[in-house]
């Protein structure tokens, strides 16, 4: 009352007052009175339209979002790669094509970057001219998510990826490197600062394609400034076309336009390939001719060189030999000089004492003469007389020569004349005269010697002292004067004469002294001169020695130099020869290569070749397919709910309708109430449902898909077509229900309507004919069964609603199980290895041996096996899918690491020597069976064909297994790049990684437990969708059951009141009412489970993504959960209803039948 009063007052203008006619007021009151009924119609309509609109708009919204993204970022129409790259002139040729809107040549490079933990990521680097990005026509413009675009050469932007997001962020630096090649050959800067995070319309999937380096899986991409690339030719060309402009990406028209363009471009490519080949051939030919000419010149120069060398060496040798001869001559001269000098010295030294003695003698003589002269001057005549007299006196006539004198004379080393010696040796006295005569017969010298001897003897003392001096003087100086003396008289005579003329003597003496002095002086001078001459000669010889030595040294050096010169010249010549020979070899190689010049191949890629481009829209289409089934079902249930609800409502208002009719209201006015009631509920429901459905569901689903795709936020425009369609269907549905519900009553007479409606007669049910069952049933069960058949419409609604709910839940749980159980199957039953390690495949034999030894000896590893693992594309005429190629070292032992078995026939598979084994999902996607052929592409240019020999159970990712024999025969001998292993204790993964990664060749270790965990996280996103399904199903079940029980209770209030009066306890009353719905629920659940199986299979078949095969088959727990949860909802409804039942007043039973 109050509410209505307020309602009236708040709409206080006259028009509104008129609008609220009694019938309208009645309608509003009816709604407020039976708000739960109104809400149940509202809710089921909201649920139905919400689901339909939400699911149905997901696909167009996803397409719109992607398409807007592609259009705004101007996604390329075509990408061309050439095996030989593109020259500037080729780019110009492409640009000149009529249909081409824009051409962007680019460089690409796949390089490694560290991601910590000693593992590396493969980064695909694209050249980007960042100054051109503002250009509206810029192709495949990256979308900046965070940060800024590079401004310097050492800055780059990275894709918003999952793989490296932990390691790299804005501000961090990334060092690129290669293993096989030197990265500096490709890039002039290899260290970049990441300044921004971008997404690219080229890559809306996290799958970035395959690479020829590392494990072959590109993890992320980088955009590097174009100026850092050091390439001669462009590697890629991106194109947009004029005729595709304005056509939506996923529009069929786009495909047909592109088909035409592709045909044209293929022809163009063929033409350009030929042209490029011709150009290459001609250039090479020219170069070879030039090389030939250069080689010929080289040979000529070489032979000239040899000749020059020989001549030069000969001339040099001749000069040196001449010099040597001259030196040898000089050496001889020198030798003679030395000899002469030595002899000179010897002679000099030998003669020098003699000469000196002679000179000293002469000097002594001079002295003696001077003394004698001096003595003579002192002598007086008296002295002379005294002397002569003394002499005369002392010299006897006869003398005996004393024995001593005799001995002295005999012993003296003088060659005495025989007469003299005989005289001396005469015994006895001899005549003095004889002696004198004899003495004076002796030559001057001997006489001197005799005198000296005499002086030495004692006998000299016999000479009186005063004349001794004169005797000595005479003995010394006068012997010359005293010659040929034969007697004493003569002697004395002579002495007197001589001594008497002392003046003459002195003069004579002085003349002799002067003469002697002159002689002495000259003697000394001669001696000094002789020495000086020798010294001079010696000096001169020393100089010439030096000169000679220098000469020899020079000569030796000359020879060395000559030899060196010859050697170096020879070496030069040899080098020149080697070079020439190399040149010849290169030339002949060149000739050979000329024939081998590769014919360039152009590869044309369109958008569909972009990873994720096609799968994205396929995924969206899957949602769309599910979107058809679920909402149709919801609308069916909604219609049933409306129909029963409205029917009940009309029945309750039977009396009122009769009264109205009796008062004279037309059928239309009466029906209006019910139509307004139903339409307003469904309109409101539609609005709320559409509002929530459009906003929530597509975003929820899209966000689940965003785990696999990189796209901007979902665009959620209001889809008026769906909105109007939904609302129309909902309104029509409820309005028709309302109309049909009241039609019968409207046709009846007022009187009939005013009478209580005859209760619906009880009827026997077919079960009663089966008396052995019927008789065993308690009457309460009988009532239940009778009621079930009595209210068929309601039971049907319950069964359908509950069955739908159960089917949906089963689908939800089944889906969840199908997703989650594959993790265990994959990582515990199929991948029974514990870890896989990737190493650098280009390492040498020694390193491989070391690696094997390391694996062999590691105590944590029980066994291991080498494998080749490579990301590849697999194609046949039907499809192209990506997969991993795995070639084990030992095909027999592979089953110890990876279980190959056919799921359907549960048969172990072994790798054959020819052909490959495919995993189940990819075989299904390619629609191949055993015996058919597939093409495996390791890169755009390396591919081979092989036959499918078996199909093996597998759930995550797609694999192709080949034995090494099969691989070798299909392609080429295998080079391993990975190893798989078992561990003693799989929990020790950190320890094993630490140990193994010390070996720098090992790039990465991953563990199957980790793989399982990661995968679990990824598929976890699908749980959202499962949750949505379960919540929707629950909501559906709840609304249906509540509505039904509510109607049941309202309709049977009297019955309930009666049995209450009869003394039924509350729970018995409940059971009496619920039993029907519960049985209907059980039937519904069973039907739902049956229905759920194909429905789940259908949903799985459309929801599966390429890289995953959900576990097929049905799981008991999914049945149990779906059933239990549905019953759970039924119980919640029962509990809610319990309170309502309790409130049923027993006084109702006393009232008359309505």
């Amino acid at each position: 009352m109050n509410t209505l009063y307020r309602l009236n007052r708040s709409n206080g203008n006259s028009k509104m007052k008129r609008f609220f006619k009694p019938t309208t007021k009645d309608t509003i009151r009816e709604i407020l009175k039976s708000i739960s009924r109104f809400l149940s119609i509202f809710a089921i309509i909201a649920l139905g339209t919400g689901f339909f609109a939400g699911l149905k708009s997901t696909y167009p919204n996803m397409a719109l979002t992607a398409n807007t993204y592609f259009r705004e970022q101007n996604l390329m129409d075509m990408q061309i790669k050439s095996t030989l790259g593109f020259t500037e002139s080729e780019i110009e040729t492409i640009t000149a094509l009529r249909n081409v809107q824009r051409v962007e040549p680019a460089y690409t490079l796949d390089a490694f970057a560290d991601t910590g933990n000693n593992s590396v990521a493969i980064m695909r680097c694209y050249s980007t001219d960042f100054s051109m990005l503002d250009d509206e026509e810029s192709i495949s413009t990256p979308l900046l998510v965070e940060g800024r675009m590079p401004q310097r050469k050492d800055e780059c932007v990275m894709e918003l990826g999952v793989f490296t997001s932990g390691q790299y962020d804005i501000g961090s630096t990334i060092q690129l490197f290669l293993e096989e090649d030197d990265i500096d050959d490709y890039l002039n800067t290899t260290r970049f600062t990441i300044v921004g995070i971008v997404t690219s319309p080229m890559y809306i999937s996290f799958d970035k394609g395959s690479s020829t380096i590392g494990n072959g899986v590109v993890n992320n991409f980088l955009l590097l400034p174009i100026e850092v690339f050091e390439y001669e030719v462009y590697t890629d060309v991106f194109l947009t076309f004029k005729t595709t402009e304005g056509i939506s990406a996923y529009d069929l028209r786009y495909d047909s336009v592109m088909d035409n363009i592709k045909k044209t471009m293929e022809d163009f490519a063929a033409e350009r390939e030929q042209a490029r080949y011709d150009e290459l051939y001609n250039t090479a030919r020219e170069e070879l001719d030039k090389a030939r000419a250069e080689l010929d010149d080289g040979w000529q120069a070489y032979y000239q060189g040899i000749e020059d060398l020989e001549n030069g060496i000969a001339a040099g040798r001749k000069t040196l030999e001449e010099n040597e001869r001259l030196l040898k001559e000089s050496e001889t001269a020198y030798g003679n000089g030395i000899k002469a000098l030595t002899e000179g010295w010897e002679k000099f030294e030998a003669e020098k004492p003699g000469a000196l003695a002679q000179l000293q003698q002469l000097e002594a003589l001079v002295k003696a003469m001077e003394d004698a002269a001096a003595y003579l001057k002192t002598l007086t005549d008296e002295d002379v007389e005294r002397f002569i007299e003394t002499l005369d006196k002392i010299i006897p006539a006869i003398i005996i020569i004393p024995q001593g004198v005799k001995e002295a004379i005999n012993e003296a080393d003088i060659d005495w004349p025989d007469s003299f010696i005989d005289l001396i040796n005469t015994d006895g006295p001899i005549e003095t005269d004889t002696l004198i005569e004899q003495i004076f017969l002796l030559d001057q010298e001997t006489r001197q010697a005799v005198f000296e001897l005499l002086k030495e003897t004692q006998y000299f003392g016999y000479i009186p002292e005063d004349i001794q001096d004169i005797v000595v003087f005479a003995g010394e100086y006068l012997l010359d004067e005293l010659k040929d003396i034969k007697s004493k008289e003569e002697l004395i005579q002579r002495l007197r004469e001589v001594l008497g003329d002392r003046e003459a003597l002195i003069q004579n003496l002085e003349e002799m002294i002067a003469q002697l002095r002159k002689e002495i002086k000259s003697g000394y001078a001669q001696l000094a001169d002789a020495e000086q001459a020798l010294i001079d000669t010696e000096h001169m010889l020393r100089n010439s020695r030096r000169t000679l030595d220098e000469g020899w040294a020079l000569l030796k050096q000359g020879y060395i130099d000559l030899e060196a010169e010859e050697l170096s010249a020879q070496a030069e010549l040899d080098a020149a020869l080697a070079k020439l020979q190399d040149g010849e070899e290169a030339y002949s190689d060149g000739l050979k290569r000329l024939e081998d010049i590769p014919y360039p191949t152009w590869y044309l890629f369109d958008r569909a070749d972009n990873s994720g481009y096609s799968s994205y829209i396929e995924d969206a289409e899957r949602v769309d397919k599910i979107a058809i089934v679920i909402p149709v079902f919801f609308i069916l249930v909604a219609a049933l709910v409306c129909l029963t609800t409205m029917t009940r409502m009309v029945e309750e208002n039977r009396m009122e309708i009769g009264t109205m009719k009796a008062l004279g209201y037309s059928n239309g006015v009466i029906a209006k109430k019910y139509l307004v009631y139903a339409i307003s509920a469904s309109l409101l429901g539609s609005f709320v449902g559409l509002a929530l459905g459009f906003k929530l569901l597509p975003v929820l689903i899209f966000n689940a898909y965003r785990i696999m795709y990189l796209l901007p936020d979902l665009m959620i425009p209001i889809r008026w077509d769906y909105a109007i369609l939904c609302t129309a269907v909902a309104v029509l549905c409820t309005a028709l229900s309302a109309y049909f519900a009241c039609r019968k009553e409207l046709l009846a007479t007022p009187a009939a309507l005013m009478r209580p409606k005859a209760p619906k007669a009880g009827k026997r049910v077919f079960l009663e004919k089966v008396s052995f069952i019927w008789s065993r049933l308690s009457f309460l069960h009988k009532v239940t069964f009778r009621n079930l058949f009595r209210y068929k419409k309601r039971v049907l609604m319950t069964v359908v609603g509950v069955a739908g709910c159960t089917a949906l839940m089963y689908t939800g749980f089944g889906l969840q199980h199908a997703i989650t159980s594959i993790v265990d199957k994959q990582y515990e039953d199929i991948f029974i290895y514990d870890a896989i390690g990737i190493y650098d495949e280009v390492i040498g034999q020694d390193e491989v041996a070391t690696l094997r030894l390391q694996l062999q000896e590691n105590e944590m590893i029980t066994d291991y096996m080498m494998v080749l693992q490579k990301g590849v594309d697999v194609t046949n005429e039907k499809a192209k899918k990506s997969a991993y190629l795995l070639v084990p070292e030992n095909a027999q032992e592979l089953n110890g690491y990876i279980n190959l078995q056919n799921r359907r026939v549960e048969e172990r598979l072994s790798l054959p020597d020819h052909g490959c084994i495919l995993t189940e999902k990819i075989a299904k996607m390619l629609d191949v069976s055993v015996g058919e052929k597939i093409t495996v592409s390791l890169s755009d240019t390396a591919k081979f064909e092989t036959e499918v020999a078996g199909i093996t159970e597998n759930y995550t990712m797609n694999y192709i297994y080949m034995s090494k024999e099969a691989y070798a025969s299909a392609y080429k001998p295998v080079i391993y790049n990975s190893f798989i292993l078992h561990m003693n204790d799989p929990t020790l993964s950190n320890e094993l990684s630490t140990e193994l990664l010390r070996n720098e060749e090992i790039l990465h270790i991953s563990y199957s437990t980790e793989g399982g965990k990661t995968f679990r996280d990824v598929v976890g996103s699908l749980n959202y969708i499962v949750l949505v399904v379960i919540i929707a199903a629950g909501a559906l079940a709840f609304i249906v059951l509540y509505n039904l029980v509510n109607i049941n209770v309202n309709e049977r209030l009297r019955e309930i009141a009666t049995i209450k009066v009869l003394g039924f306890y509350d729970n018995e009353v409940g059971a009496y009412i619920y039993r029907e719905t519960n049985i209907a629920s059980v039937i519904g659940v069973l039907a739902g489970l049956l229905l759920g199986m194909p429905f789940k299979d259908f949903v799985i078949s459309v929801a599966e993504v390429d890289s995953v095969m959900f576990a097929p088959g049905h799981y008991w727990l999914s049945f149990v959960l779906a059933a239990v949860l549905t019953f759970g909802f039924a119980i919640i409804v029962d509990i809610a209803m319990h309170f309502k039942l309790k409130k049923v007043d027993m006084v109702e039973s006393l009232k008359s039948v309505e």
Binding site: G762, E1055, T1058
Partner: protein, 232 residues
């Protein structure tokens, strides 16, 4: 005394107005008596019936049935009281349309611990031939017989009848009252009939007349007459 009401009061709150339905009702009924509570609409007889039948509680006073004061019973105790001690005959029979005659009786026997055999009770009310018919196939009188059979089948201590003839024609109503009177006499069943029809009071052992929520008079009829002898 088998049934004794002492100073029973009952008020209903209708918005801001308090309506007094019973204002100190006192009466006693002996075991095996055939009592009629008579009064005009709004006199409070239906309230008395509700309280006696355990369908409502009084605000004050006591209601002692066979030595038990049910005015202090909680909901569950009242349900048990209805289940085991009370047989109720409705004006509009209140049969389950979905159940046959036998099944309707069984509805009562199923929940009662000491029930009579359904078939013999039905025979007792003279409907053996219609035992497998549905209520819609029966006349009003027959339906009321089923209703009585259903009430009797539980072997109640007290048979409460709310205007049992209200929806029936004269002769059929007489037959039903006869059935009730015979049941009372033959089975020594305490029967209380609520009616506005003063004419049938001579057949009762005790006539309790109610006016404005109070007992106007209690008349012990030493010589009740058979219903056949009453005309109205």
């Amino acid at each position: 005394m088998f049934i004794r009401l002492e100073n029973v009061c009952k008020h209903y709150q209708m918005g801001e107005v308090t309506i007094t339905a019973l204002d100190g009702v006192d009466f006693e009924i002996q075991k095996g008596e055939f009592a009629i509570i008579v009064g005009a609409s709004g006199a409070g007889k239906t309230t008395v019936l509700n309280i006696l039948g355990g369908m409502d509680t009084c605000d004050s006073g006591s209601v002692i049935i066979d030595g038990t004061d049910i005015s202090r019973h909680n909901t569950r105790q009242l349900t048990s009281y209805r289940r085991y001690d009370i047989g109720f005959v409705f004006q509009f029979y209140n049969l389950m349309q979905n159940l046959t005659v036998r099944e309707n009786v069984e509805l009562a026997t199923q929940i009662s611990s000491d029930a009579l055999d359904a078939d013999s009770v039905i025979a007792m009310v003279g409907l053996s031939e219609r035992i497998d018919n549905f209520p819609a196939q029966l006349s009003g009188g027959e339906q009321q017989r089923v209703s009585i059979a259903r009430a009797l089948a539980k072997r109640p201590k007290l048979l409460l009848c709310d205007e049992p003839t209200g929806a029936l024609d004269y002769q059929t109503g007489k037959n039903i009252l006869k059935l009730l009177q015979d049941t009372c006499r033959m089975h020594n069943m305490t029967v209380i009939v609520i009616t506005h029809n003063q004419a049938i009071t001579p057949m009762a052992d005790k006539i309790i007349t109610m006016r404005s929520g109070q007992v106007y008079s209690v008349v012990q009829n030493e010589h009740p007459v058979s219903i056949e002898q009453i005309e109205w």
